[in-house]
C-alpha cells in the first residue's frame, strides 16, 4: 500500500494532530512498513465469519430507570480554568 505524505497529512488532520513535514515523512515510512504487516490479515479466509468486537459475549445492559448519583456541576467544573459560570468555556466559534 502506498502511504503518501498527503495521506498521512489527511489522517493527521482527522486525528487533530499538527505534524511538521519531517514528521510526516518519518511516520509515512513507518506506517507503510507496519500496515504491510497488518495487510497480511487478508490471507485469512474469513468468509461467513462474524467479527468479534469483544472477546466474551457482551449484551446491552439498561440500568433501572431510577435517579442515581451524578457528578455535580461544581466538581465537573473544578478541573479546568476555562469556565464561564456555570459552563465550560471554549474557543470562539464566530
Amino acid at each position: 500500500m502506498d502511504i503518501t505524505p498527503e495521506l498521512v497529512k489527511r489522517v493527521a488532520a482527522n486525528a487533530r494532530l499538527n505534524l511538521k513535514d519531517e514528521e510526516i515523512k518519518k511516520f509515512a515510512a513507518e506506517m507503510k512498513e507496519i500496515l504491510a504487516t497488518f495487510e497480511k490479515l487478508s490471507e485469512v479466509n474469513t468468509d461467513k465469519t462474524e467479527p468479534s468486537f469483544h472477546p466474551i459475549p457482551v449484551k446491552n445492559v439498561a440500568r433501572e430507570d431510577k435517579t442515581g448519583e451524578c457528578l455535580d456541576r461544581e466538581k465537573a467544573l473544578s478541573l479546568t480554568p476555562h469556565i464561564k459560570d456555570p459552563y465550560f468555556r471554549g474557543p470562539k466559534v464566530l
Binding site: M31, V44, L79
Partner: protein, 469 residues
C-alpha cells in the same frame, strides 16, 4: 506474607502509622533511584484512620493496613492520575475507580501511582509521556522494566514492606513486566474485573489485574477486585470463586504451544520453561504438544489493528477543555484542540493515533478494522478447540530477558511490537493468564506463562502454585 501481616495489624500488634511512615520512606528512596512512582497518595493519613479503628475495635478487611500501589491509568480520588501522559497532567479525579473502592473497603492503604508507557502504548515502559522518566529494571539499571506496567513490576520487586500492586494489561502489560522484573503478575479474563475508573486504551482489551512477590498475594487482591459492577456493562455477571487454592497438577493436561518455543526464543528462556514443564509432569501433569498456527501467525497484526483503532477513538476525548493539559483559548475549536494534542501527546501516542485513525477511515475500515475483528473470531475458535484438548497452556511469557535501553533504541517500531508475540494472542482472546518467575539467564529473570480458558483464574493459579511448590 500479607495474610499474617493483616492479622497482626488488626490485632494491634503493628503500629500502622509508624509502619506506613517507614514503608513510605523506603518507597520514596526506591523511587528516587529507580523512578517507579509518579504521584503519592496520603498514606499516613489513611494509616491514622485505620489505627483508630484498631483502638475502637472495629478493624476489619482482608487488606487491612496493606500498601497498594496503583498503575497510573487507574483513577484514585484526589491523586494525580495521568496514565503517565502529559495531556492529563494536573488531572486529579473526583472519584475512585471501582477497584480502588473495593481495596479501601477491605482496609487497604493506597500508596501512590506507578509509572507506565503513556496510556499503555509500549512493551518496555520506555514510551513514558513527556516529562515522565523511564523506570529502571530492578536487576540492572541499564535495562528496561518491561511494560507497560513497568513501575508496578519494579516497585513490587524492590519493596521489602508488605505490598501488592494494581496493574493493567491490554496486550501483555502485566505479564511482560512481571517477567522482566521477576515477580508474579495475574491478568484476569476480560470482564472479570470492572474497568470503571480505568483510563481507556482499548475498551475490548483492557483488563485490570495484580502483581506481587508471591502468588497468594496477587490472587487475594484479584479475588477482591473481581465481580460484576453496575458502572461497567462489560463486567461479567458471574460469581467470583475463591482464588485461595492449593497447587496441584495431578491429572491435568498441559498444552505446550509449539510455536512459542520456536526460533526467536532465547535458548536459556526455552530451556528454563521446558525444565519447569518437566517438573510439572513429574508431579502428575500430562503434557500435550499442540499448535496455534493462526493465533501465532496473525495475532500480532490483529491485536495491533484493533488496539490502535480503539485507542484512536478513546484519545479523541483529550481536547484540553475540561481537564488535564490546556492552553490559551485562541484560534478555532479545531486549532485549539490540535495545538493542545500536538504539544502533549508523545511520539508513540501520535504514531498509534495515526495508524488507528487510518484503520477506521472510510475506504480502509473493512480491510483493516473489520478484518482484524473477524480474525479475532477465528482465534477465539482456535483457542476454544485447544481448551477442549487441554486444561491450560504453558509458554514462555517473553521470548527474551529484559533488554538494555541501548538495544531497545535500535528497534524499529515494528520490531518493537513483535516482542509481544507471546502475550498479544491470549490478551486479544480475553483469556486469563499468569506469569511467574522460573529461573534466570545471566542474572536476569525468566517468566513462565500459564493461560487458561475464560474465567478459569482458579485453574491457572493452581498450576502456577504447583510449579512453586
Amino acid at each position: 506474607m500479607i495474610t499474617k501481616f493483616v492479622k497482626e495489624a488488626q490485632a494491634g500488634k503493628i503500629n500502622l502509622v509508624e509502619h506506613t511512615e517507614k514503608a513510605l520512606e523506603e518507597a520514596e528512596k526506591i523511587s528516587k533511584e529507580y523512578r517507579y512512582v509518579t504521584a503519592w497518595a496520603d498514606a499516613v493519613e489513611r494509616a491514622k484512620e485505620l489505627q483508630e479503628q484498631v483502638t475502637k475495635g472495629t478493624a476489619h478487611g482482608r487488606l487491612f493496613g496493606v500498601l497498594i500501589s496503583v498503575k497510573d491509568n487507574i483513577c484514585v480520588k484526589d491523586v494525580e492520575s495521568t496514565a503517565s501522559s502529559a495531556i492529563l497532567k494536573t488531572y486529579k479525579p473526583v472519584f475512585n475507580a471501582t477497584v480502588i473502592q473495593k481495596c479501601l473497603n477491605e482496609g487497604a492503604i493506597i500508596l501512590g501511582k506507578t509509572v507506565q508507557d503513556e496510556f499503555g502504548f509500549g512493551g518496555f515502559a520506555v514510551n513514558t509521556g513527556k516529562g515522565y522518566e523511564k523506570p529502571l529494571n530492578p536487576f540492572d539499571k541499564k535495562r528496561a522494566t518491561g511494560g507497560s506496567s513497568g513501575g508496578a513490576a519494579g516497585l513490587t520487586k524492590k519493596a521489602t514492606f508488605p505490598h501488592i500492586a494494581l496493574a493493567e494489561s491490554t496486550g501483555g502489560s502485566i505479564a511482560d513486566p512481571a517477567s522482566f522484573c521477576g515477580v508474579v503478575g495475574i491478568c484476569p479474563t476480560y470482564g472479570r474485573v470492572s474497568r470503571y475508573g480505568l483510563i481507556d486504551y482499548a475498551n475490548s482489551l483492557d483488563k485490570i489485574g495484580t502483581m506481587a512477590l508471591d502468588i497468594d498475594d496477587a490472587a487475594l487482591l484479584l479475588e477482591i477486585i473481581s465481580g460484576k459492577d453496575a458502572h461497567d456493562s462489560t463486567s461479567a455477571e458471574l460469581p467470583v470463586p475463591s482464588l485461595d487454592t492449593a497447587g496441584a497438577v495431578n491429572g491435568l493436561k498441559i498444552g505446550i504451544v509449539k510455536e512459542a518455543f520456536a526460533e526467536g526464543v532465547d535458548n536459556n528462556v526455552r530451556k528454563s520453561v521446558m525444565e519447569a514443564i518437566y517438573k510439572l509432569e513429574q508431579k502428575g501433569a500430562r503434557r500435550i504438544e499442540l499448535s496455534l498456527p493462526l493465533s501465532m501467525k496473525y495475532g500480532l497484526a490483529a491485536y495491533y489493528t484493533l488496539a490502535m483503532t480503539e485507542a484512536s477513538t478513546n484519545l479523541a476525548r483529550y481536547c484540553g477543555l475540561r481537564y488535564g493539559a490546556t492552553d490559551q483559548l485562541t484560534g478555532t475549536y479545531n486549532e485549539f484542540f490540535s495545538r493542545v494534542r500536538t504539544n502533549n501527546f508523545g511520539e508513540e501516542a501520535k504514531r498509534r493515533l495515526l495508524l488507528g485513525t487510518f484503520a477506521r477511515m472510510a475506504g480502509y475500515r473493512d480491510a483493516f478494522y473489520t478484518k482484524a475483528a473477524q480474525v479475532r473470531t477465528k482465534m477465539l475458535q482456535e483457542y476454544a478447540a485447544a481448551f477442549k484438548q487441554v486444561d491450560v497452556l504453558i509458554t514462555p511469557t517473553m521470548p527474551i530477558v529484559a533488554p538494555t535501553f541501548d538495544e531497545i533504541k535500535k528497534l524499529t517500531p515494528l520490531q518493537n511490537y513483535a516482542m509481544d508475540i507471546l502475550t498479544v494472542s491470549p490478551n486479544l482472546a480475553g483469556l486469563p493468564h499468569i506469569s511467574i518467575p522460573c529461573g534466570e539467564s545471566n542474572g536476569l529473570p525468566i517468566g513462565l506463562m500459564v493461560t487458561g480458558p475464560h474465567f478459569a483464574e482458579q485453574k491457572i493459579i493452581q498450576v502456577a502454585k504447583a510449579h512453586g511448590k
